[in-house]
């Protein structure tokens, strides 16, 4: 047995669902506990201890739930597309399982971004909605998530469903840079980039609770995605779907 072959089999062994099930079980208490801690600290800091904005007043506190949800909605989509690609190319089932669990979480984050954004827009801009580039592309992201979920639910064979989903996720991936750069490329009502610059243009008293909430949402996303992946492992086990990459589902 050559060295290369034993490396490959070792990797496949690590990616085997039973191992992943155990690994997730070990990680979850830390991820979940950390998520709860950061969320509570971030909310309290944002709601009580941070200052109001001199223009927007206390409505700026919506930022602490809106920005992390919006960034999370994009990050989870990228993860979903990446896992889908890995499953498509190398037939690693755990990647397919994780991609499938990303969808509800990402969709929820997108809904939260849209709703909290609306609630922030009404006092700030005077309207709940406007068809500008950023809001519209975020809405399209929601449709992509919904399409992904619908297609996967429609296809019985879980492996085929995963591959169809992966194709959808990859085709829609172009939407992510569109969302991000929309405020630069077009004349939008939504404000421009404040964070992803060389010098973030947000006061540190507002930036710090925001960073705490960003970490919180990242941990929340990972907690939920991993619980979902574990469920998927159990579900496939129940349906006796083979887990080795070189076996096909019936």
């Amino acid at each position: 047995m050559s060295t290369a072959y034993s490396w490959v089999t070792a990797f496949y062994h690590l990616a085997a669902p039973p191992r992943c099930y155990q690994l997730i079980g070990v990680l979850l208490p830390w991820l979940g506990g950390g998520a709860a801690l950061f969320f509570i600290v971030g909310c309290v800091w944002g709601l009580v201890f941070s200052p109001p904005d001199y223009q927007q007043g206390d409505s700026v506190r919506i930022m602490y739930v809106h920005v992390p949800a919006a960034m999370g909605s994009m990050a989870v989509y990228v993860l979903m597309a990446l896992m889908g690609a890995i499953g498509l190319i190398w037939h690693i089932k755990i990647a397919d399982m994780m991609a499938r669990s990303c969808a509800p979480v990402g969709a929820a984050f997108t809904v939260l971004a849209l709703v909290t954004g609306s609630l922030w827009g009404k006092p700030t801009w005077g309207t709940y909605w406007v068809w500008d580039a950023r809001l519209t592309s975020e809405l399209i992201l929601l449709f992509l998530y919904m399409g992904y979920i619908a297609v996967q639910n429609a296809i019985e064979d879980r492996d085929k469903a995963a591959h169809a989903g992966a194709l959808i996720a990859l085709v829609g991936l172009v939407n992510i840079p569109i969302i991000h750069y929309s405020v630069e490329w077009w004349n939008t009502l939504h404000q421009g980039t404040s964070l992803f610059k060389l010098k973030p243009s947000l006061d540190s008293r507002l930036l710090m609770p925001l960073v705490v909430m960003l970490v919180a949402y990242a941990l929340i996303a990972w907690t939920l995605i991993l619980i979902g992946t574990r469920n998927e492992i159990l579900l496939r086990r129940r349906q006796s779907i083979p887990v080795q990459p070189w076996k096909k589902s019936t």
């Binding site: 909310c43 709601l47 009580v48 201890f49 941070s50 200052p51 109001p52 007043g57 206390d58 409505s59 506190r61 919506i62 739930v65 809106h66 949800a69 509800p104 979480v105 929820a108 809904v111 939260l112 709703v115 909290t116 609630l119 922030w120 009404k122 006092p123 929340i220 907690t223 939920l224 619980i227 979902g228 574990r230 469920n231 159990l234 579900l235 086990r237 129940r238």
Partner: protein
Amino acid sequence: MSFTSWSAFWQMGGYGPYVWGAYGITVIVLGGLLVGYLWRARRLRQQLAHELRRNQVQRLRSK
């Protein structure tokens, strides 16, 4: 502390419904997802345990 009293805290400078609406829906949606996933996990484990027991019984019976 940015607020002088509890009532000022709830009012949020006049933006109360917007701010609490935003935080409220966040907690509801994220909490709902968590509860849903954990409930599903419990059901799947129960079903799996039930099936394993059933298979065991079948095997013992067929001996």
